[in-house]
Symmetry: C2
Subunit: 326 residues, 2 copies
Amino acid sequence: MNDVARTAGVGLKTVSRVVNGEPRVRPETARKVHAAITKLGFRRHEGARWLRQGSTACIGMVLEDMADPFYSMLTRAVEQVARAKGFLVFTGSSEADPAQERELAQAFCARRVDGLVIAPASQDHRYLEPELQAGVVVVFVDRPAQNIDADAVLADNAGGVRAGIAHLLSQGHRRIGFLGDTPEIFTAAQRLRGYQEALAAAGLPFDESLVAMGRPEQGFVRMSFDRFFAGPEPVSALFTGNNRATVAALRELATRTERPALVGFDDFELADLLHPAITVVKQDAAAIGRTAADLLFRRISGDDGPARTIELSTQLIPRGSGEVTP
Amino acid sequence: MNDVARTAGVGLKTVSRVVNGEPRVRPETARKVHAAITKLGFRRHEGARWLRQGSTACIGMVLEDMADPFYSMLTRAVEQVARAKGFLVFTGSSEADPAQERELAQAFCARRVDGLVIAPASQDHRYLEPELQAGVVVVFVDRPAQNIDADAVLADNAGGVRAGIAHLLSQGHRRIGFLGDTPEIFTAAQRLRGYQEALAAAGLPFDESLVAMGRPEQGFVRMSFDRFFAGPEPVSALFTGNNRATVAALRELATRTERPALVGFDDFELADLLHPAITVVKQDAAAIGRTAADLLFRRISGDDGPARTIELSTQLIPRGSGEVTP
DNA sequence: CTGAAAGCGCTTACAG
DNA sequence: CTGAAAGCGCTTACAG
């Protein structure tokens, strides 16, 4: 910018004015400046600008795994809102590792992002306190913050599962296996709660032997199904707690003879092309992302009302696999 | 940092030394500085650092659509390499809009990223020339740069399709329909070329009426299939040019009675759980991302050899849909 | 309408 | 081992 000023034979401030489109510059002067800019191939250094101004017009996004469609949809929605506001977004995957979540969030903050969207892996977010104090705003998605007060946008996990289980009950199923993720995960615990509530609402007993909570890996799913289908009263239906569990269940069922009814939490591509097509409780990842981004930008613009938790409703989509009688 | 220096009763440079872990600081002095840092909740401002140092330790990534699994896999791979190098990554989706690609790339450059990974939507990359001159390094993925000289990491598109078509020919198919994306897209054109080459290698004529190139939308696919299956010599097999085309084809076939053999370019989740399971030519998105990131960081570290184009081989995965005789 | 000075928060090169 | 000065590229507050 200094070079531009020298080349154009004007003051530094005048160049700044031209670059920022401020008024009060004689057209002739502006023309000289523009000529110098083109000649020198000048491009403003945003970093220097922020140093002076405060805001960086960047936000950071920490998610669990970019390759999971739930998170990539969510990311795209956040990105779209950010672009409309003229913001750029850093993304990073925590790979379900609390330490990696913290490192990413702190690295983003060191770059002085104005805000953070976090799909948390950590069970303790006190590490964010200094950042919050420094003015960074944070919105949690999918799972709430722990040990700090912060906004969150969640799916109605328990309600979605209740709807799914009620649907299976209405088909006459009485023994429904529940395959969920490890109960340390907020969403997994909420969904299990939904399962219990639905049974209670129908006046049915809760049988722990019909619940399997763990990482949806081949071995774990096989073991769980061996248990579900053994004995005199095998399950006649399954509820899977997230899209990875649903896919793992389908893979396992493909190797077995049992054909239980199946409802999965979270929709996935091609669910409608399988035989039978898979009935799911859909959570709207894009809506979660959009809502979170809107909230984030409202906070960035100065809204400092109390922390809010927004729950987005889910939707049961019957496609066949959940409409099988015992 | 000034406040820290004052609080600790030392010089600014000493704080800088402590923060950067430079030697030649008396342990006692360092302790005082650390105490002040904790007391004040000091966090170094990376932006100011870069202003002085040049590098920002950030890269930008422009892709077509974050929600497409091909791109999200690719992104994750780039991210992982970047993290290992201590770099952060900006991401942005062009949504197949050349203008949006340019805006994103330029916005990243204004933030002074050290490098750029671009999955291009644009047909002309001369807009990057000033950035390249300014020292930004760029690696293209999936599709090469146009009108500028730059590194690229691509799948072996033509080779992959040749393998897929040869596979269908070996099952006895002689009339194979090709459903590709619009031919302006580099990969679509390359894949069509592979189709033609495979036919030529087998001594078969190229019949234009068996080719449909366009955005893989419901209407276009239906129209194309109407044509493919009409007349006295309908196609007995289909080759789809990308994962969206494959899924669109499956959706369309689900509404029809024809049951052609099918091979798709690009693998997708659940391909193995469909009936029949889908035979694909797999391109390794993660490997493309990893290779591109490696190349990018080699460039960032100063490798200024001639621009390179790296082609990664593909793999035919027979699963059933491609092993159907006419 | 225009510009010289000071400063954002850090590092670099130098002197003690 | 330690620190005062200058500067990265811009903007802010002020004076002409």
